[in-house]
């Protein structure tokens, strides 16, 4: 409860925090007033039963006064709470959007995409429901019983002590319940996530599953996942059940003890009957609040989970940015003794040093897992290096700052992202004011003009997830077109591994030549033409540069590169069927 308020306040600004505290304080005050109103019942009833009409008038007046004060405060707090709920939603979304845009690019992967999506929708809604709908009943359910117990200790200490013991018992049971449920919920969440992954797999691999007959004889993997889900639900049910039973039992035992104790005290003559009746009424109210508490705590736990996840995301440190960004001299890229590890222990790059002079073409080759993609990602500052330095135009990336770096770098990686929007929008992202002639020239060089000609609405065809989908090769051509339009001096390119047909290959090659004309290009090379055209070739192996030099030098060196070259040229001559056509 207090932890939720503390978590909420980290999400808010100074003004919001003050308002939150005011709202909480007012809710606490209404809880106290409610508790006092309950307590006032006892003297009112005593006065009624003893026909003390002056007392009745006085206590009825007090009760009315408490009601008015309670309702005035509640109105103020509720309205402020609604307002705060709206602000909180806006603020959560704004902070998420802002923060996500500042995280290291390397942080993102497919799982996280979905996670951010859920956080921004359901998560934000859950969080905003806290001041809007949860804070008041929660506060009331805690504060008013405490007030009642305090009042009871004054009015009739023996019953007060009994209730106090009961409160401790019920709080403990509630606490225990949420711990137990939390634990089995984790198991349930895992089982559900596995089940969902299986269903996604089932949908994605439908073709293979059918062609190989797995939809006819049942799909064991999906079946097993459902069975595991069921088992996890059952476990959660059993544990939750024990907990809930315990909680109900505690509440009811409390009521029973109070009733029995009252009867005992009255019969023993040490408690007067009017007070006893008043106290019994009070106890019923008290027990009801405790039941509310149990029901609210699960809603609170859900909201708290969402809050925790959003705060965790916001706590991930963005890459440090320089106070005064330095300016890059030119487009030269230089790595000095760069080492990098994703997990802090296994090095992916180890002591890599090279210089790519401005307007040169550097090709990177090497087996998969040798660190090629990581090297390119470090040059784009998807991550900061673990040790060593990466410089562009003589300036360390950390001093250059992301904004300046991004202005100077074009990235054409394998996973080309197209936005919902027209093909034109997607290309012009690079240079919104490009004149038609420049656009046409870039489109021609990247052979996007062919794509435009093929699509039903040409440049105005909607692409992206919901629109027409372009093939892998075509997407890469769009990305190259973007890069051509963008006035950046460095181009980082991963030649698509998606097989390119003759048409796409020719296009990519021409565009690459055009790009390399006046830019520094670092390319993970898959095509033989690219390596032969490169000014320098870096052969990576196990995170280190094994060989470097020009194509001719490296061939002559008869090392790894020569093996690579021979393998690739023989692969290029492969025929699926029949005799070579000579």
């Amino acid at each position: 409860m207090i932890s939720v308020v503390r978590m909420l306040s980290t999400l808010l600004d100074h003004d919001g925090r003050r308002r939150l505290l005011r709202v909480v304080a007012t809710f606490v005050a209404t809880g106290v007033l409610q508790g006092l109103a309950f307590a006032a019942l006892v003297p009112l009833l005593v006065a009624l039963f003893t026909q003390d009409w002056n007392g009745v008038t006085a206590w009825a007046g007090a009760l009315l006064g408490l009601l008015v004060a309670h309702h005035v405060l509640l109105t103020l707090a509720d309205l402020a709470g609604y307002d705060l709920a709206c602000d909180l939603l806006d603020r959560t979304l704004a902070r998420l959007g802002e923060h996500v845009a500042r995280l290291p690019l390397g942080w993102y992967d497919a799982d996280r995409t979905g996670m951010v999506g859920r956080m921004a929708s359901k998560g934000a809604a859950d969080i905003s429901s806290i001041p809007g709908h949860l804070l008041r009943p929660m506060t009331a359910a805690v504060v008013s019983p405490v007030t009642v117990v305090a009042a009871l200790l004054v009015l009739e200490w023996r019953l007060g002590v009994a209730l106090l013991a009961g409160v401790v018992l019920v709080f403990a049971a509630t606490r225990l319940l949420s711990v137990i449920i939390g634990r089995s919920e984790a198991g349930y969440d895992t089982a559900m996530a596995n089940g969902s992954a299986r269903v996604v797999e089932f949908a994605l691999n439908q073709q293979a599953l059918r062609v190989f007959g797995r939809t006819v004889h049942g799909n064991e993997l999906v079946e097993d996942a459902f069975a595991a889900q069921r088992a996890a639900s059952r476990r959660m049910l059993v544990t939750g059940f024990g907990g809930r039973g315990l909680q109900l039992l505690a509440v009811q035992a409390l009521l029973t003890v109070v009733v029995a104790l009252s009867v005992h005290l009255v019969l023993g003559g040490s408690l007067d009957t009017a007070t006893a009746v008043g106290l019994l009424v009070l106890s019923v109210r008290f027990v009801e609040s405790m039941v509310d508490l149990g029901e609210l705590s699960s809603a609170l736990r859900i909201a708290q989970g969402s809050l925790r996840r959003v705060l965790d995301l916001l706590e991930i440190a963005p890459l440090p940015e320089p106070a005064v960004p330095a300016t890059a001299r030119d487009g030269a890229v230089e790595m000095t003794d760069v080492s990098f590890s994703y997990d802090g222990s296994t090095p992916v790059l180890d002591g890599v040093s090279f210089t790519a002079p401005a307007r040169s073409l550097t090709a990177i080759v090497g087996p998969s897992g040798s660190g090629k993609s990581t090297l390119l990602r470090l040059a784009a500052r998807f991550h900061d290096v673990t040790s060593g330095s990466v410089r562009v135009g003589g300036v360390d990336l950390r001093d250059l700052g992301t904004e300046a770096l991004m202005a100077d770098v074009s990235i054409v990686f394998q996973d080309v992202y197209l936005f919902e929007g027209t093909l034109r929008d997607n290309v012009l992202l690079a240079a919104p004011d490009a004149d038609p002639a420049r656009l046409a020239e870039a489109a021609r060089l990247a052979r996007v003009d062919d794509i435009v000609a093929r699509l039903p609405h040409g440049w105005e065809t909607r692409v992206g997830e919901a629109g027409s989908t372009l093939s892998g090769g075509e997407r890469q051509r769009v990305a190259i077109c973007r890069a051509l339009l963008k006035d950046a001096s460095v181009v980082l390119l991963d030649e698509a591994t998606a097989a390119l047909d003759a048409e796409n290959e020719a296009a990519v090659q021409e565009a690459l030549t055009a790009l390399a004309a006046d830019r520094t290009v670092i390319v993970i090379a898959h095509r033989l033409q690219t390596v032969t055209a490169a000014d320098q070739i870096l052969v990576l192996d196990g995170g280190r540069i094994a060989e470097r030099g020009s194509h001719a030098d490296l061939l002559a060196a008869e090392g790894r590169y020569r093996d690579f070259w021979q393998q690739r040229t023989s692969a290029a001559g492969w025929q699926l069927v029949g005799e070579p056509a000579g």
Binding site: L33, A37, L45, L48, V56, L63, L67, H70, L79, Y82, C86, L89, L93, A94, A101, G114, A120, S121, G132, G195, S196, V200, F202, G213, T215, V216, N219, F226, A227, R230, L237, F241, T256, V259, V263, V266, L267, T273, V284, R285, P367, A407, V409, S410, Y417, F419, R454, T497, A499, D501, A502, E505, H526, G573, Q575, L576, V577, G578, E579, P580
Partner: protein, 589 residues
């Protein structure tokens, strides 16, 4: 209850009814201790005026209350157990039927939907029923039983006071109604807004590289901000619109109001002698329970709406037409494939992307499909494993229309290897023997060896038991070879292949090539060719252009004809031309 819900809930109806009955019992039993307190007051109160107390009776009341509490505890737990168990069974039942049904619908159903949508239907929509089945039935029953029983009891005590006690309830209902004005529509807008925000966030994250490359003012960030602000604005408007009603409801339903109202009015009536003071006690003890249903109704409304929507979606899905099962079993003979006047459009009445294709694949021959991108090569190839059915014409296998074959008959005869591999997150062994789950270890190893992947798999700590994506982290080319091993083990006479598979991973191109060569040997092969040099030896090359067969013949024939194929060939040669010192390799191609 709305009808989609009734239908969905049918399998657990018995248990839900039992659960409702138990809840009625538990609600009434829960009221017994309350009336017990009232009784105690009646027994004890005479003592104030000095009369003697019937102690035995007092203790009896305590004992009866205690017994009722026991009954309540037992029934509430039993009802809750029943409803949760019903929910468990129902969700497994629904998920199984959904998956079973989806395994039989036309494949096009999947191409029209994202895997996320399928997951939402099978997992989330079924989960949305949970609250309804496991909780709402009980809550609603209690919310109706409780005030009715209490009202009846209170009316029997004093009519005026009973009406006074109902005032907050009436005010609460009025508040609820005010706050729910136009709520059905608003909830829809709200849900749409949430979905929009979710997808804007996903887009923001997916496009983050582009966002960064093109500056902070990149359009997705702007779009996210716009969507978020619009949603925030809507949320605020709605909050303002319903604030008054919600506030009224809260003020009416707080226990303080009922308590004060009952106490003050009761005291007034008692002071005038219109009410026995002792008769005030039942109202103070029980009056507050009257307001509970409004709160429940507020929550239940939304739950019910969500569950109804989910139930409707589930039912629609369960009603998706299945691929028709052939009435009489066909009896295909031999492996000849004949395409007769095949036309294909993605939507009924839409543009034909394939038109008038007639083609025969003789057993054991190689047919290559070539053509510019968008010419229909892949679409045509995908008709053979029946990923879709032709819009016009027919495809015959061994003399029988594909549509007359059962799934078993088809998958025993046709398999495919495409560029995108489809490995499942399970052991490598099970991945390889997907088509023949009973294949022996020796067969699996044999296929893996033929696909050039056995050594790599044996080198893994758990060998063939390694799980793809967990301890078997394979490169693209390695995944391709596992998929090839799978096709080798399936050993179908007809194979559809995307030649691009060979080049999907440059690092292990040579090994994938070798595996493919092993796979295709001796089969009736239909291959989608991207690099023409790989299929010059094909028995027949079919050149597609805008969905029509432009030319067909052998490599030599087609070059001599100097048509589209010859042009494509020259472009291919240019694209793959090497610098001078590698010309020898080129000539060999």
């Amino acid at each position: 209850m709305a009808s989609p819900l009734r239908d969905i809930l049918r399998p657990v109806r018995g248990r839900l009814l039992a659960c409702i009955a138990l809840t009625v019992v538990s609600t009434v039993a829960g009221l017994v201790p309350m009336t017990g307190i009232v009784e105690l007051a009646r027994i004890l109160l005479p003592a104030t005026s000095g009369a003697s107390i019937d102690a035995g009776r007092a203790w009896l009341v305590v004992q009866v209350s205690l017994g009722a509490l026991g009954v309540r505890l037992a029934t509430i737990l039993a009802a809750s157990w029943l409803s949760h168990a019903a929910d468990l069974d129902l969700s497994v039942l629904l998920r199984r039927s959904l998956v079973a049904r989806l395994g039989r619908v036309p494949l096009a159903w999947f191409t029209e939907r994202s895997s996320g949508q399928v997951k939402k239907a099978v997992q989330d929509d079924v989960a949305a029923l949970h609250h309804l089945v496991a909780h709402s039935a009980m809550e609603l029953t209690a919310a109706i039983t409780l005030p009715l029983t209490v009202a009846a009891y209170l009316l029997s005590v004093d009519v005026t006071m009973a009406l006074v006690t109902c005032v907050p309830l009436v005010l609460g209902i009025i508040g609820l109604r005010i706050s729910m004005r136009g709520a059905a529509e608003l909830y829809q807008t709200y849900d749409r807004g949430l979905a929009e925000i979710g997808s804007a966030a996903v887009e923001l994250v997916n496009g983050i590289t582009v966002v960064k490359t093109f500056g902070r003012e990149g359009r997705t960030h702007r779009r996210f901000t716009e969507v978020a602000q619009r949603f925030g604005g809507f949320n605020r408007d709605w909050m303002r619109h319903s604030a008054l009603g919600m506030l009224l409801m809260e003020l009416a339903l707080t226990p303080v109001l009922t308590l004060t109202l009952v106490a003050v009015v009761g005291a007034l009536l008692a002071s005038r002698g219109n009410l026995a003071t002792i008769d005030l006690v039942p109202f103070l003890v029980l009056g507050l329970t009257m307001t509970a249903p409004v709160t429940v109704a507020g929550y239940a409304g939304r739950e019910l709406r969500e569950a109804t929507g989910a139930a409707q979606r589930i039912q629609e899905l369960l009603a998706t037409p299945e691929l028709p099962v052939p009435a009489t079993a066909a009896n295909p003979e031999g492996g000849r494939v004949e395409l007769r006047g095949v036309g294909f459009a993605y939507s009924p009445g839409g543009r034909l992307v394939l038109d008038g294709i007639s083609l025969t694949l003789e057993p054991g021959t190689v047919t290559a499909l070539v053509g510019p991108s968008g010419s229909g090569k892949s679409t045509l190839a995908r008709l053979l494993p029946r990923f879709a059915d032709p819009t016009l014409g027919s495809i015959n296998l061994g003399g029988c229309d594909l549509r007359s074959l059962t799934s078993e008959q088809l998958y025993e005869r046709v398999s495919f290897v495409f560029q995108e591999t489809s490995l499942l997150r399970t052991s490598l062994r099970d991945n390889i023997r997907l088509a023949r789950p009973d294949a022996s270890d020796q067969d699996v190893r044999h296929a893996a060896a033929a696909a050039q992947i056995l050594d790599r798999l044996d080198a893994l700590p758990r060998g063939l038991d390694s799980v793809v994506g967990e301890d078997a982290l394979l490169s693209g080319g390695e995944r391709q070879r596992v998929a090839i091993a799978r096709a080798i083990l399936a050993d179908t006479p007809v194979l559809v292949l995307d030649e691009a598979t060979a080049a999907a991973d440059p690092e292990s191109e040579a090994q994938v090539q070798q595996a493919l060569s092993t796979l295709v040997a001796g089969r009736t092969l239909l291959v989608i060719a991207h690099r023409l040099s790989t299929i010059t030896g094909a028995d027949r090359i079919v050149v597609l252009d805008s969905g029509l067969v432009a030319e067909s013949g052998t490599h030599t024939d087609l070059l001599a004809a100097d048509g589209l194929y010859a042009r494509l060939w020259r472009a291919d040669q240019r694209a793959h031309s090497e610098p001078a010192h590698t010309q020898t390799a080129e000539v060999a191609r």
